[in-house]
């Protein structure tokens, strides 16, 4: 039995779906961020697998840039969470619907 690329792609699909479900059901903004990280990791796994399948370095290069963008996104997102939590202690995402206008 050999591990084919499809195995990695299937694992990536399951991981992505789990992250999406977590993003939908959790209310703590920090945990929602973690679920976004799960989805990003699933996509990274897919990139690396397809890059290995096709013998192309582009997959790993894409993962590199995804990592950088994810780090920047986490930094700014956590700063937003800190700014909101200072104003409203223990706020969940449901409490922030005032931005809806």
């Amino acid at each position: 039995m050999v591990v084919t690329t499809s195995w990695y792609l299937a694992l990536g699909a399951v991981l992505f779906s789990l992250g999406a479900v977590g993003l939908l059901i959790r209310r703590n903004p920090l945990v929602m961020f973690m679920c976004v990280e799960l989805m990003l990791n699933a996509v990274n796994l897919t990139f690396v697998s397809l890059g290995a399948e096709l013998g192309d370095l582009g997959g790993q290069l894409s993962v590199f840039f995804v990592l950088v963008v994810a780090a920047a996104e986490v930094v700014v997102g956590l700063a937003v969470v800190v700014a909101i939590m200072r104003r409203r202690q223990g706020a969940t995402t449901d409490d922030l619907s005032v931005l809806g206008g």
Binding site: A13, V31, E37, N41, L67
Partner: protein
């Protein structure tokens, strides 16, 4: 051998992901996230992406999750969340349906594609084995993709500045905005006077002091 490693890592990854979903305490969720990230790093090693595996552990598990934990501790939100209540009626069944459909769609696509993943073979630099991988990546990044690397540097700078601006606390009253002396249309600078350079400098001083007084008042 490969199959064993893959199955164990996949189990680690999936258990970690489920833990992130189900952990009531955000700190536990962060630790489960570390578990998932390590599993993904092992899978990277299995595919000879050694550099990315190292970056995954250092940047993700080392920096991003630590940042998460910092914010959790800073905000004091490490209380257990009550997952029993469902704030929006029907949210969770709907989320489960959406997630199941997404997973089913993706897996069906994989099953239907009997040839496995297709595509043109790569035209960039070849992958290199575990030892060569870092050098190949570096060569590609700093030749073909150097503009993207520079943009990345810009993005990181913007992110740092943005985070500092967003998360700072302003102590005391706000400082008044600096007043800029602007030559108004009612009093155009008289260039015809003798010694105009000196005169205009005087006018500038007067205007500046007036506007500063106006700002104080």
């Amino acid at each position: 051998m490969d199959v064993t490693v893959f199955l164990i890592s996949a189990a680690i990854v999936l258990v970690g992901a489920l833990g992130v979903l189900a952990a009531r305490n955000p700190v536990h969720a962060a630790l489960f996230l570390v578990q998932t990230l390590f599993g993904v790093a092992v899978l990277f090693v299995l595919q000879d992406a050694t550099f990315l595996a190292a970056v995954q552990v250092i940047v993700y598990a080392g920096a991003v999750v630590i940042l998460f934990l910092f914010v959790i501790m800073l905000l004091g939100v490490d209380r257990a969340e009550d997952l029993g209540v469902e704030p929006i009626v029907g949210q969770r069944p709907l989320a489960a349906v959406i997630g199941a459909s997404l997973m089913g769609l993706l897996l069906t696509l994989l099953l239907v594609a009997t040839d496995g993943p297709t595509g043109a073979p790569g035209r960039t630099a070849p992958l290199g084995d575990g030892v060569d991988n870092t050098r190949r990546l570096g060569e590609a990044l700093f030749t073909d993709y150097v503009f993207a690397v520079e943009l990345t540097a810009l993005l990181l700078t913007v992110a740092v500045v943005g985070a500092v601006v967003l998360a700072r606390t302003v102590k005391g009253a706000l400082q008044p905005l600096p007043v800029v002396a602007v030559a108004t249309a009612e009093e155009p600078p008289r260039a015809t006077d003798e010694g105009s350079g000196v005169d205009s400098a005087d006018e500038f001083d007067t205007a500046t002091s007036e506007s500063i007084e106006g700002g104080d008042a």
